[in-house]
C-alpha cells in the first residue's frame, strides 16, 4: 500500500461527503473494521430480534450485537432482556440453543445458574469464594434493551438516547406503515433464510437502499413474473418513488406508491395473481372487506426502510446484517406473516419469500454474487474511489432530509454521513 493511504484519523479521506466518494480502504482494512465494531456496533442501537421470535415468558433467542453473542429473553413478568452469552466465571457460553423456552440459564462448565433477567442465582460450592462474594455483581453482562412496534434493539451504550428518539418520528411512521402488512393481525416471524457473503458489511448497507441495481441484477427474477407484477417492480423505468434521508443514517426508498399505506385503496380490484387466494379466503368465511385487506397485505409494503447500522424493512421481509470480519458478512432474510391469520395467506407469503430470497431464491443469489464481486474488485485500484454520488444533481429537500430520484444514492450518503459522525467520536 502506498504511503498516502488515508489514516483513520483522516475520516474525510475515507468518506468525502461533499463529493460522495468512499475510499477503497473502507471495505478492506481489518483495523478499520475493529474500530467500526467499537465505535458503531458497541455504541448505537442494534437490532436483535422481533418480539414474535420469543413470544412467551421464558422464551429466548440467540442473537448478536456486532461481534458479541447475546441472548434475548422474556422474563417471568414478560420484560425483555438482552445480555452477553458469556458466563461470569470463566466465560463459557451459557446457552447454545438458538431458540427455545427455559426457566433459567445454567453454565455447563461449573454450574453457575442465572435467572431469566441475567442475575446470578446459584454458585455450586460457594464457600471457596469467601463471605464477601457479591452475587449481585456477577450477573450476565446486560445491554440496554428497548422495542418499537415489535422490533427489539439493544445497545452496549448506557448513555444512548431512547430508541424512539434515535429512530425519530419519520422512521417510526414508516415502521408503523410497514407493520400494516399483518393485514389486521399482529406481524409474526415465519422463518429465515441465512447466508454468508464474502463482503464488507457496508456493501450490504448500501444495497438495501439501491434501486439502481434492480432491473440489472434481478432481470432473471422479473422474467418469472406475470405482466402486472413485473409492471409493479418496474419502478425505475416509471421513475416513480424516491429515496429520502431520514436522519441518523436511516433512509427510506419508496418503490411502489400504491402500496405505501396498506389501509388505503382497499377498493382497488384484487390482482389476478391473488384471485385464487381471495376465493379461498371467501370460502373460509372471511367477509369481503377482510379478504381485500388480507390479500393486499400479502404483497407487502411498497418501500424499503433502512435503519443504520444493521436492519432493513424490505417490502415484505426483514433483512439483517451481522459483520463477521472485514470481508465477511452474515445475512438473514426473515420471512414475516400474520399471527393468527389464515394459513392460505401465510402460505402465499412463504412462497413469495422463497421465490426471491435466500440461498435458492431467484433474487438473493444474484445479489450475493454482485456483493462478492465488489469485494473482489476492491483488491485492485486502491486509489480509486467508490462513487455514491448518483442523484446528487437533482436532489431536493424532502420531509426529513435530502430526497433524491428513486435510483439516487441518497440513502447510502445518509448511512455514510452517520458512519462518519460515529467514527469521529
Amino acid at each position: 500500500m502506498s504511503l498516502d493511504t488515508p489514516k483513520f484519523s483522516d475520516l474525510d479521506a475515507l468518506y468525502d461527503e461533499e463529493n460522495a466518494l468512499v475510499a477503497t480502504l473502507m471495505y478492506e482494512d481489518p483495523a478499520l473494521f475493529d474500530e467500526e465494531m467499537e465505535k458503531i456496533f458497541k455504541t448505537t442501537w442494534v437490532w436483535v430480534a422481533h418480539e414474535s421470535e420469543f413470544p412467551d415468558k421464558g422464551s429466548f433467542k440467540l442473537s448478536q450485537v456486532g461481534q458479541e453473542p447475546v441472548i434475548v429473553v422474556r422474563d417471568r413478568k414478560g420484560k425483555i432482556h438482552c445480555m452477553v452469552n458469556r458466563c461470569r466465571h470463566r466465560a463459557a457460553t451459557v446457552c447454545e440453543v438458538k431458540k427455545g423456552k427455559t426457566s433459567s440459564f445454567q453454565c455447563p462448565y461449573h454450574g453457575w445458574g442465572y435467572a431469566l433477567d441475567g442475575s446470578l442465582r446459584a454458585v455450586p460450592y460457594p464457600e471457596q469464594y469467601g463471605d464477601d462474594f457479591d452475587k449481585s455483581q456477577h450477573g450476565l453482562l446486560k445491554l440496554r434493551t428497548e422495542a418499537y412496534n415489535g422490533m427489539v434493539f439493544a445497545s452496549f451504550n448506557e448513555e444512548i438516547e431512547p430508541l424512539e428518539d434515535f429512530l425519530g418520528p419519520q422512521v417510526r411512521r414508516y415502521i408503523d406503515l410497514f407493520m400494516k402488512q399483518g393485514g389486521g393481525f399482529p406481524v409474526k416471524v415465519l422463518g429465515e433464510h441465512q447466508f454468508a457473503v464474502p463482503m464488507n458489511w457496508k456493501v450490504q448497507l448500501e444495497n438495501t437502499t439501491d434501486a439502481y441495481h434492480f432491473p440489472v441484477v434481478h432481470k432473471s427474477f422479473m422474467q418469472t413474473l406475470d405482466g402486472a407484477t413485473e409492471d409493479m417492480f418496474d419502478f425505475l423505468d416509471k421513475g416513480v418513488g424516491y429515496v429520502e434521508d431520514l436522519g441518523n443514517g436511516h433512509s427510506v426508498m419508496t418503490m411502489i406508491p400504491e402500496l405505501m399505506d396498506l389501509d388505503e385503496n382497499l377498493d382497488a380490484p384484487i390482482p389476478d395473481r391473488f384471485a385464487e387466494l381471495a376465493q379461498e379466503l371467501r370460502d373460509e368465511g372471511y367477509p369481503e372487506e377482510q379478504v381485500k385487506k388480507i390479500v393486499r397485505a400479502v404483497s407487502g409494503a411498497g418501500f424499503n426502510l433502512n435503519l443504520f447500522p444493521n436492519v432493513s424493512f424490505s417490502l415484505a421481509f426483514f433483512r439483517v446484517l451481522t459483520p463477521i470480519a472485514v470481508d465477511r458478512t452474515d445475512i438473514r432474510h426473515i420471512a414475516i406473516g400474520m399471527d393468527g391469520g389464515p394459513a392460505a395467506a401465510n402460505q402465499a407469503r412463504l412462497r413469495l419469500h422463497e421465490h426471491f430470497q435466500g440461498p435458492m431464491g431467484f433474487g438473493s443469489p444474484d445479489d450475493a454474487e454482485v456483493w462478492e464481486r465488489v469485494q473482489r474488485g476492491t483488491r485492485g485500484g486502491d486509489s480509486l474511489p467508490i462513487l455514491v454520488n448518483r442523484g446528487l444533481v437533482d436532489e431536493e429537500p424532502g420531509e426529513a432530509g435530502p430526497r433524491g430520484h428513486i435510483s439516487a444514492e441518497t440513502g447510502m450518503r445518509a448511512a455514510y454521513k452517520m458512519w462518519k459522525r460515529m467514527m469521529s467520536q
Binding site: 422463497e354 431467484f362 443469489p365
Partner: protein, 164 residues
Amino acid sequence: MTEMSKIDSRALLADVTEFIWAEGAMLDAKDYDAWLDLWTGDGLYILPIGEGEDYANQLNLCYDNAKMRRDRIGRFQRGFSISSAPPADTVRTLSRFRIEAAGGDLIEVSCAEHLIEDKFGRQRTWAGNAFYTLKVADDGFKLHRKIVRLLNSDGMLNSFSYLF
C-alpha cells in the same frame, strides 16, 4: 405397504440406485431439460429448513411445483442471472441407498448426498440426506417427490447456483 422378498428388493434397490445416479449425473452435467422430464406433473422438489415436515406451512429453501421448477431452470439457462452465468461446477456422490417403503406404484428411497462445488477457485462442501418418492412408470421411474435435507439447513449457508 407390501412385503417384498429379498430377491425382489435387491433387484429393486439396484434399479432405483441406477435411476438416482442417473439423475445425479444429469444435475452435475446441468442437463436440466432432461431433469425436468423426470418429474410427474404434480411432483414436489423441496429443500426444507430445519427438522419440520409441514413443508407447505413452513419456510423452505425451495418448495418447487412444476411451474417453479420450470422457472428455476429457465433462470439458470437464459443467461441473465449473474450467479448462474457461469454457475459453480459440482460433483456429487450419492450413497447409502435404502428402500424405506414400497407399495402400489410408489417407492420411497433414502440416501446420503455429498456435493462439492467449485467457483472462483474456491471449493465448498455440502452434505445432506435425500428422500425420494419414485413413481413406477412404463419406462422406469418418475420423480414424484424429492426432499433434500442439508445438514446445516438452518445455519449460515451460501447461495446455490445448482440443484441438490
